[in-house]
């Protein structure tokens, strides 16, 4: 009986989720010019009346239409975008898109491998480039994401993808870009979800930090000399010591952040990023001195303490930016995959609480690209970078006006449809009948 059930399940699977999937866009053969739009470059600058040209997937022209000389006829296609806005594609770091399709369906969940120190676990091979969620994320301007495993002390290695691809291999923008570390908390829960208890000081904290230090010390020793016996776990950390990979440390508390910074410095880990950073504003000097940026926790979250400023999560980006720390926004947490499409509005909220709109934009474009180490190709509208951008009816950080007209990933004209827009059309049809 059980066997039969499985059979039926397998037979059904291909049909689930097949409805209304979009076809990844083919390579762009034309050169394209977008004219007269307001260009938000992602580096803080705005060009009110811009010309943006790209060819072979790369930006060839980004300029003020009123001052630069250019030849319209040199382009295969001209898009008139007067009154519209152009943005670099938004980037969602520390994301799990494609690793889970439906939260409550365990069979669709591939984000959390067992084990405590598993840097060798690689998210990219489980990344479902055909996730239906990706399509709904794209339609709000999020075109790139860092696919990150979850769970344990070191959940594994992430990779950066673009969100319109046939396979995970096609999707790769930067493979194995970073290793992720969940720093132990100085407080721990004593209850469980059904019977909440008290939150007490974590007596194991020092021991747990020591375990991390030991792990990395052993890993460093291993990678310094070629060994006859291969150790996959240590091997996976090699890039951290060479500087080709970044260590992303999830840490929200002041003490965690200080401890994390000190140990990474002592071990010679070259690139470190703090993820979460709820109390990062208390250690901005340390972060600046060590050139450590922050991927700030979800803007749309509640303050952790009753007495915290009501708007603290809204203004943290401002506090850090004003102190000179490079800040990007990440969106991990409840329903994080579907909520990725709200990343622009999380940035927009930051603008309501101190940042300029262009600064807020940087939180999900150039800053994040820098933090992820992909800023030579992505994150801003600058000549030479990949043509990963979109055109919106209006301000893309505001819900009312974030309405995408066209989006390009590496120059390819990607679909802004999804099974959701298809259902929308289908049921509009029902009411027209």
């Amino acid at each position: 009986m059980k066997k039969n059930l499985y059979k039926i399940a397998f037979l059904l699977l291909p049909f689930l989720g097949m409805e209304a999937q979009q076809i990844p866009a083919p390579k762009q053969s034309k050169s394209i010019l977008i004219m007269n739009a307001t260009a938000h470059l992602g580096n803080g600058e705005v060009i009110e009346n811009s010309v943006i040209g790209f060819k072979d997937g790369k930006l060839t022209l980004v300029a003020d239409a009123r001052v630069v000389r250019f030849d319209v006829s040199a382009y295969d296609q001209v898009i008139q975008a007067e009154g519209k806005h152009v943005y670099p594609g938004f980037i969602a770091p520390n994301a799990t898109l494609g690793l889970v399709e439906i939260d409550a369906v365990k069979a669709s969940d591939d984000e959390n491998e067992i084990g405590t120190f598993t840097p060798h676990v690689r998210s990219i091979i489980a990344y479902n480039s055909e996730s239906r969620i990706n399509e709904t994320v794209r339609m709000n301007g999020v075109l790139l994401a860092q696919i990150t495993p979850r769970g344990g002390r070191i959940p594994g290695t992430s990779s950066i993808v673009q969100l319109d691809a046939w396979t995970w291999e096609d999707a790769i923008v930067k493979a194995d870009d970073g290793i992720h570390l969940n720093f132990p908390s100085t407080f721990r829960r004593s209850g469980w979800w059904a019977e909440p208890g008290t939150i007490e000081a974590n007596k194991e904290y020092t021991k747990q930090v020591e375990e991390i230090k030991t792990f990395f010390a052993l890993a460093k020793a291993y990678v310094s000399e070629s060994s006859s016996q291969k150790n996959l776990t240590y091997e996976a950390t090699k890039g951290l010591f060479e500087g080709s990979q970044t260590l992303f440390v999830t840490a929200n508390e002041e003490k965690q952040i200080i401890d994390a910074v000190e140990f990474t410095k002592a071990l010679g880990i070259k690139k470190v990023v703090i993820v979460g950073g709820y109390q990062a504003n208390k250690v901005t000097d340390l972060l600046k001195k060590n050139n450590i940026p922050v991927l700030l926790q979800r803007t749309h979250s509640l303050p952790m303490l009753d007495e915290n400023d009501v708007d603290l999560p809204y203004k943290l980006a401002t506090l850090l930016t004003k102190a000179g720390v490079i800040v990007g926004l990440e969106n991990s947490g409840d329903m994080e995959r579907m909520n990725t499409r709200n990343l622009p509005f999380q940035a927009g909220t930051c603008a309501g609480y101190g940042l300029t709109k262009e600064q807020a934009l940087q939180l999900i474009t150039l800053n994040t690209a820098k933090i992820l180490g992909i800023d030579s190709q992505f994150g801003s509208l600058e000549v030479g970078k990949q043509a990963t951008l979109f055109i919106s009816e209006g301000d893309a950080l505001d819900m009312r006006t974030n309405k995408l007209i066209q989006a390009f990933i590496q120059g390819r004209n990607v679909s802004l449809e999804s099974h959701q827009t298809n259902l929308y059309k289908k049921y509009k049809e029902r009411y027209n009948q």
């Binding site: 399709e101 439906i102 939260d103 409550a104 369906v105 969620i133 709904t136 100085t186 407080f187 829960r189 209850g191 979800w193 059904a194 019977e195 909440p196 208890g197 008290t198 939150i199 007490e200 000081a201 508390e253 002041e254 003490k255 109390q279 749309h300 979250s301 509640l302 303050p303 952790m304 303490l305 009753d306 007495e307 009501v310 708007d311 329903m335 995959r337 579907m338 499409r341 709200n342 509005f345 927009g348 909220t349 603008a351 309501g352 609480y353 950080l397 505001d398 819900m399 009312r400 006006t401 974030n402 309405k403 959701q420 827009t421 259902l423 929308y424 049921y427 509009k428 029902r430 009411y431």
Partner: protein, 997 residues
């Protein structure tokens, strides 16, 4: 007087009924103490207010025979001279589980049990009214000693398990007498908001479930009492039998106290409420209950905040509570609340006196303290003559002290219970504490004796100021000092003994390490000085004021209604006038008084609205914030009897955060764990007021229903489900079954009510669940139903149509767009999410265009939160209706204001800016639909509950308060006082599917 005494004495031999007379005695010959015992020359507190100086207390066979200034002593009398001593009635703790162990915890399958397996008792196993604690009582001598040392003589005890816990009994803290094991049985009947450990019966899983269970239990009791039952129910019989006893309810929280008082009012029961020590936080409401209380003195220790990284993660409210808690008894007294004191929840009974003294230092009156330990508990227990005083005829339960009990230095010598002596500190023992010159073996030493009277510690130094190892013990005034010999190569001791009669000098025999004997002597040189730090302990901390609520951002005073005139503001009327620019709005007496241009009112405070937007307060149709202990009553598949109105939590910071996000009204819904959920509460966020003041006046009545994965327990991880339904097919049948039964129930009552006085039909049993469902059929209650997929949406509408009513609101309703026509035709509204999906299988087809599609088909659409975080930025969610589906800004704004008001049937009062409607308004710095907008002022009925400028001031004050509190706690630690490790309570933000026990 003398004559009377004589008569009394004469009468004694006859009135004395020797209780043990009928007991066989095979151990010896009869040997009973029938003598009198007299305590003379003592200061005697007959009651806390009746004090005799130099008086005599005469007792016999466990009772007071006489007390007075001059009492004639019979010849057969043992006399104790109590010169300089004070005698108090011993204390009574009326709330303990002394000698009554908790029952064995259930240890069977982890799967929840839905229907009871026990026979002959109430249907719910958490109702244990049939338990008589006396049947389980076993004298606990170790615990008794702790009580005796603290000054207690008798306690009331019960089995602390379950919601209804059965009867309690009064026992003496002495097992000397064979017959007085129990003083009074079945004195009290106990209740609490805790589940029994003996069972895994799922119901009630929540506080509201417990409240509903109690109400139903009382209805059933009355029904049973009227002889309606055809079967025997021992639990109900016990309730009937015990209804005249003292009813004690362990409320354990200020808000629970208000809740219990309401149950009491409904059923005519005067509960005595066991408090938790936070009553001072809402003293006005506590006072209004007119209830008597039992309060603990377990004031928290200071937190160890020496690690600033830990301290900055601690809640200010917890620190503030530490600071304020010792004032609770004083505040209760000042407000005329009658209460007894209990040792309940003290970590150590030996801390009792120091905690009590702390309360007194913080202003609690000493006489009131004595009363709260003696006469008050005695009279609350219905034994004012027998207990808690030393009047003639009372039990001879008293303590003997060296002086004023409330003096820190006072020593408790003896604790007499039923005339039996228990020695706490030997009153004849000599106080040898002080500095001495010790002469021994031709050498002189300095001897310093410190510490407790009963266990003094010695420190010995040579004349060269070198420390000598020494150990002192004192017993029966025998002084015994072990001194290490000066031979450092050996571990050898000299033994110095002396019987102390004079503490100024004493001497005795010394047995040397080598066995030879000699003499030694000690001569007092000075008394020990009190250490500076001990006196420092007496200082009290500055007490921070209570705020309303007593949380960060609470107000010192409850905010007042204002007359406000907004000038030149953009007004989103939600009426046919649409959005008015450069307009004035006047609010007065809590209402919108005028809308127009060039308005003026001399009494109004004028607010410049240039560049700003004035809107209605946001209304959240679906919220779960501010709910105490459980959003789901998941113990049954239908729980129409429970109501969120019973468990509104006025002390939730999310209320303030909602106000800061422009939310003024929310419907607090039961969760979605069962097809028929509980009733909801519609509240206005009047921050600082009590739960009942937040609930809408004449509130329309709603109930939550639910469909789909949650109710069929699809994601609960249960291996062998036993609860019906497990499919959508079963869900329909649950509704059919309950509505059929409700209809029959309704008809039965209608028939009963219609028959007139002479009718022969007996009153049907009151069933709170069916009564609620009958209200739906009678269109007096509306359904808000949690729903996802189109099949189930259609199903419930068809069920409703069969019973002649309509579904009022579908909440979530993520596939509503698929059946918008059918919904329109049925007349149901939709309260949905702007863009949620992908979190479970049934939301696969959820699309963000849902709201727009439904709206375009003429369905009333609201966007709701179901989430504490999202609820504070519903303006942003409304804006998504503009993005997804091109709804106009004006209409999109109604999704979070007028439309939910319509769905809640409160649009006659709120939801638009119209003269005469409630002044529930928000002033925004920008277009409220913009991501950049923030609320600057949020008003309810003309009272400003959130103001961005006040908020800024509050922030600064909170930072200052926290740093002062931290400094106070560091000082406590520095003084050597006990501190506790940093910790805080875990908070759960509820969603629909949050389950807890």
């Amino acid at each position: 007087m003398k004559k009377l005494l004589f008569l009394l004495l004469l009468g004694l031999p006859f009135s004395r009924l020797a209780a043990q007379d009928y007991f066989p005695n095979n151990e010896s010959v009869r040997n009973e103490n029938n003598n009198f015992t007299a305590f003379t020359n003592a200061k005697i507190y007959v009651t806390p207010t009746q004090v005799i100086e130099q008086g005599t207390l005469l007792i016999r066979e466990g009772k007071v025979i006489n007390v007075g200034k001059s009492v004639a002593l019979p010849k057969n009398c043992v006399v104790y001279n109590m010169e300089g001593k004070t005698i108090y009635p011993s204390f009574i703790d009326m709330y303990t589980n002394f000698g009554v162990a908790n029952p064995a915890a259930y240890s069977g399958s982890r799967e929840p049990l839905y229907d009871t397996k026990r026979k002959g008792f109430y249907w719910n196993e958490h109702i244990r009214s049939e338990v008589n604690a006396s049947g389980f009582y076993k004298y606990d001598s170790a615990k008794a000693e702790e009580f005796l040392k603290a000054g207690f003589g008798v306690v009331n005890t019960h089995m602390a398990d379950g919601v209804a816990r059965g009867t309690g009994l009064i026992v003496p803290l002495s097992d000397e007498s064979k017959t007085n094991k129990i003083l009074f049985d079945k004195v009290t009947q106990h209740f609490a908001f805790t589940r029994s450990v003996t069972t895994n019966q799922a119901y009630p899983s929540s506080l509201m479930g417990m409240i509903a269970l109690l109400k139903q239990m009382y209805h059933d009791k009355n029904w049973y009492k009227n002889g309606n039952s055809t079967y025997k129910d021992s639990s109900l019989e016990a309730l009937i039998e015990n209804e005249k006893l003292v009813q004690i309810f362990a409320a354990e929280d200020k808000l629970n106290a208000l809740r219990v008082a309401k149950i009491g009012k409904e059923f005519g029961i005067n509960y005595i409420l066991k408090g938790s020590g936070n009553e001072f936080e809402r003293i006005d409401d506590i006072k209004k209950t007119n209830a008597k209380f039992i309060v603990p003195v377990n004031f928290p220790d200071a937190y160890d905040v020496s690690d600033p990284y830990q301290a900055n993660q601690m809640e200010l409210a917890d620190m503030r509570f530490w600071n304020q808690a010792p004032t609770n008894l004083k505040v209760l007294t000042e407000n005329g609340v009658v209460f007894a004191i209990t040792t309940d929840k003290l970590k150590k009974l030996e801390d009792f006196k120091s905690k009590l003294l702390k309360a007194i230092k913080y202003g609690f009156d000493k006489t009131k303290a004595l009363e709260a330990l003696t006469t008050v508990p005695a009279s609350l227990l219905g034994k004012p003559a027998e207990l808690g005083n030393l009047k003639n005829g009372a039990y001879a339960n008293f303590i003997v002290t060296s002086g004023d009990f409330f003096d820190e230095k006072t020593i408790l010598y003896e604790n007499w219970v039923l005339g039996n002596k228990y020695v706490v500190n030997d009153m004849n023992s000599k106080d040898v504490r002080g500095n001495y010159e010790l002469t021994f073996d031709n050498k002189t030493y300095q001897l310093k004796i410190e510490g407790e009277l009963s266990s003094p510690k010695a420190e010995v130094k040579t004349s060269e100021d070198k420390k000598v190892n020494a150990k002192l013990s004192m017993a029966n005034n025998w002084f015994n000092l072990l001194l290490k010999s000066d031979d450092s190569t050996k571990v050898e001791f000299h033994r110095l003994m002396a019987l102390v009669t004079d503490t100024n000098q004493f001497s005795g025999k010394a047995t040397m390490a080598n066995g030879t004997e000699s003499y030694w002597s000690a001569k007092k040189t000075s008394v020990t000085e009190k250490k500076a730090e001990e006196t420092a302990k007496l200082e009290i901390n500055k007490v921070f004021p209570v705020t309303f609520p007593n949380l960060p951002f609470g107000n010192l005073q409850k905010p007042k209604q204002e007359t406000l005139l907004f000038k030149n503001v953009t007004v989103w009327t939600n009426e046919k006038e649409g959005i008015l620019k450069e307009t004035d709005v006047l609010i007065k007496n809590g209402k919108i008084a005028a809308i127009g241009t060039n308005l003026s009112d001399p009494s109004a405070k004028v607010i410049d609205g240039k560049g700003k937007h004035l809107t209605n307060g946001i209304i959240d149709e679906h919220s779960h914030i501010a709910i105490s202990r459980g959003v789901n009553e998941s113990g049954h598949n239908a729980t129409a009897e429970v109501t969120i109105e019973d468990v509104v939590n006025s002390d939730d910071i999310n209320i303030y955060r909602n106000l800061a996000g422009g939310v003024t009204t929310s419907q607090l819904l039961h969760g979605s764990a069962n097809p028929i959920g509980g009733r909801s509460a519609i509240v206005k966020w009047k921050w600082g007021l009590s739960p009942d003041e937040m609930i809408y006046k004449n509130s329309p009545q709603f109930i939550k229903f639910a469909l789909g994965e949650n109710v069929k327990q699809a994601n609960w991880g249960i291996n062998n489900p036993t609860r019906f339904p497990q499919t959508r097919m079963g869900v329909e049948q649950v509704f059919m079954d309950y509505f059929n039964r409700a209809k029959e129930y309704d008809e039965a009552w209608k028939a009963f009510n219609a028959q007139g006085k002479k009718g022969k039909v007996k009153a049907p049993r009151v069933d709170l669940e069916l009564q609620t469902l009958a209200e739906i059929i009678n269109k007096k209650r509306f359904i808000t139903c949690h729903s996802y997929v189109q099949s189930e949406i259609l199903m419930l509408m068809r069920v409703a149509e069969k019973f002649g009513f309509r579904v009022n609101t579908y909440t979530h309703i993520l596939e509503g767009y698929k059946v918008a026509n059918e919904m329109k035709e049925h007349g149901v509204g939709a309260s949905t999410f702007s863009d949620w999906w992908a979190y479970k299988y049934e939301v696969n087809d959820a699309i963000p265009y849902n709201g727009a599609l439904l709206h375009n088909q003429g369905v009333t659409v609201a966007y709701n939160s179901d989430d504490a975080e999202m609820s504070r930025r519903l303006n942003q969610e409304a804006a998504k209706a503009v993005k997804y589906g091109n709804v106009s800004e004006e209409e999109a704004w109604k999704f979070v204001t007028l439309n939910p008001a319509k769905l809640l049937h409160i649009d006659d009062k709120v939801g638009s800016i119209k003269v005469g409607k409630d002044a529930d308004l928000v002033l925004w710095n920008d277009n409220p639909l913009s991501v950049y907008a923030k609320a600057e002022k949020t008003m309810i009925e003309g009272v400003v509950y959130f103001d961005i400028e006040t908020d800024e001031i509050q922030r600064a004050n909170l930072a200052k308060e926290k740093s002062e509190l931290i400094m106070q706690q560091l000082q406590e630690k520095n003084k050597g006082m006990i501190t506790q490790e940093p910790k805080k309570k875990e908070k759960i933000e509820y969603h629909c599917d949050t389950l807890e026990h």
